[in-house]
Symmetry: C2
Subunit: 221 residues, 2 copies
């Protein structure tokens, strides 16, 4: 079926315009197969559009990638704003949970984080800042324990969260479900395990204190 020029009162509904359809198709394909695994023609086909049009709008494949990064970042900021309006559900896990709706963006983000790039680096910085702020509020509410280094802990929690999402294929295999692919009703195995780890801890209190304090002292010097 050939493309319908977006005339005034044409036959079919106007839908999103081609440029947006291309971005949507690219984000969906990228998040499934990574950047190298998707060709411009794949994207074009996904958007019901010719390959040269992708170049026409975005200049090159790299250009498309850049715009997708920006678009994803903006979606994250919007989602953050909405979360702030909604209520006071903090913690990194709740952050992910809140993202259930725009899971495609999250999946894209995870791919982008591996590939790297200025846009995602800046976004990651933002996410860390936000996490630190949310954590501080949650500490005030006695939901989260204070840490000797709030920023580092926030960084590692984010990396662990995103990282485990990256391996959602394995998670699904080993846990039976994964927040990346299944509806929230089936997140039980994941959530209970996360709660276990982050509420009860893993190491016995005294087990590694010596090692820990050694490292801390070494870093202070």
């Amino acid at each position: 079926m050939a493309y319908q020029y977006g005339g005034t009162g044409n036959t079919s509904p106007p839908e999103r315009d081609a440029k947006q359809r291309i971005i949507d198709a690219a984000i969906e394909l990228y998040s499934d197969h990574g950047f190298n695994g998707v060709t411009i023609k794949d994207v074009a086909a996904g958007a019901n559009v010719s390959a040269p049009l992708v170049i026409h709008h975005f200049g090159s494949k790299a250009g498309l990638r850049k715009i997708c990064d920006k678009y994803a970042a903006q979606r994250v900021y919007e989602s953050k704003a909405r979360a702030i309006e909604m209520g006071k559900q903090f913690t990194p896990e709740q952050m992910l949970l809140h993202s259930a709706k725009n899971r495609p963006i999250l999946r894209y983000l995870v791919q982008a984080l591996i590939a790297g790039g200025e846009e995602v680096d800046a976004l990651m910085d933002q996410l860390v800042d936000d996490a630190v702020q949310y954590t501080a509020e949650a500490i005030d509410q006695e939901l989260i324990k204070p840490s000797p280094d709030e920023r580092r802990r926030a960084v590692m929690l984010l990396l662990q969260g995103f990282g485990s999402m990256m391996l959602h294929r394995q998670m699904k295999r080993l846990l039976g479900s994964s927040p990346m692919t299944d509806p929230p009703a089936e997140w039980g195995p994941y959530l209970t395990t996360i709660f276990d780890i982050y509420t009860n801890g893993v190491f016995e209190p005294e087990a590694y204190r010596g090692l820990y304090e050694g490292l801390a002292a070494q870093e202070d010097s």
Copy 2:
């Protein structure tokens, strides 16, 4: 410089044979750029060999991948055996720490886990089994706390560990160093943060108990 046929008493030292050099080059390149990011000619160049020879030995690019997976898995098993001989340093983090020497293999593994495939799935199953066993011993020694579901916790700890390693670029940016790229002497920021999270926990004991018990009850029914 052309290839020297591996004659009897030739000029240069015999080194490893071509087949092994190809595997080594492939694993190194794959772990840096992923599977799609590396061409057969890249691998051939890295092993000082012609591209058709790679095909000759491994049949196809997919064949090479498969052999690399098997090889990496074997290296992990060897490393495990050596760890068992060495001593009693358990915990997932110590497992990674022990792998400092064969970091290339670990990096390859991380790429393979994203890409998926039978070989890595089987390896991952093995790693989970091992982690469960190690954890049980560490619980006996009062180094690690028991968990309501040892296997699930082991799975999530592995996924978090591997996952955060996948994002080593971000870790390096945000923490200043990463076990994936830096020598053990600079692992301080990573290790102290991990100890903090896994020793002290993150959530306050009562904060999410209701949610947790709700999920657990739902799963039992």
